[in-house]
Amino acid sequence: RRCYADDVVTVLYFAAAREKAGLSSERLALPPDASVAELLAAVQARHPALTEVLPRCRVAIDQSFAAADARVPEGAEVALIPPVAGG
């Protein structure tokens, strides 16, 4: 792992999150070994409009649900998952 350089991840925004953030995906630089919680804080800072929906979102890392304390690996695909409504 590169030392002291940021991890770059891809963040995907779906449904209400995309609508509020105004974009469907972006690349985000995170401090190495960042947690999901830290990622959410970074996202919140970049997109204040997400304030309402963010707390209701689950997070997926590389297409698997991740807990708040999970680590976000370098190059991960991170998705914000608002309350789902399939079927």
Binding site: F14, Q63, G87
Partner: protein, 150 residues
């Protein structure tokens, strides 16, 4: 684990027959199929909390398709492991759907009916919990994301 063989997200109309064919086999005496389709009304908490019905015009389905196929596929495997002899297959629609259009078709076969019913019900309940799929409802009270609440 081959999710793809058990769950397919489609932008084109779903096929009940295709789902049945995917699970039917000589050892299966029962197939249970669940079809979720777009209803012309929905219950809405009206002002003051009185439940009222709202007319629905259409629904836009959005999905994180790759993950949805993985999650739904894993849910089907869950059912197959929990009820031995079950085979399941799911198609879920994305895009804009009119009233009556099929949003999801779940088919589960089994030697006997009890397992076929149980597995089919399990899949739809779990799918609604975890599949990364959303629907934007165009009703006569405006456009809202279902499940997001007021």
């Amino acid at each position: 684990m081959d999710h793809h063989a058990r769950a397919r997200m489609l932008e084109t109309p779903l096929s009940v027959d295709a789902c049945i064919d995917a699970v039917k086999h000589q050892g299966a005496g029962a197939v249970c199929v669940f079809i979720g389709c777009v209803r012309d009304h929905t219950l809405k908490e009206g002002a003051g909390g009185t439940p009222g019905t709202v007319a629905v015009v259409k629904l836009d389905y959005e999905a994180y398709a790759d993950m949805a196929e993985k999650v739904i596929g894993a849910i089907v495997v869950e059912a197959e492991e929990r009820w031995p002899g079950v085979r399941g297959f799911v198609q879920h629609r994305t895009g804009t759907l009119a009233i009556g259009d099929l949003a999801v078709v779940i088919a589960c076969s089994a030697p006997h009916r009890a397992e076929a019913f149980a597995a089919c019900r399990h899949v739809i309940e779990r799918l609604k919990e975890d599949a990364p799929i959303w629907k934007r409802e165009h009703g006569d009270d405006g456009v809202t994301w279902v499940g997001l609440g007021p």
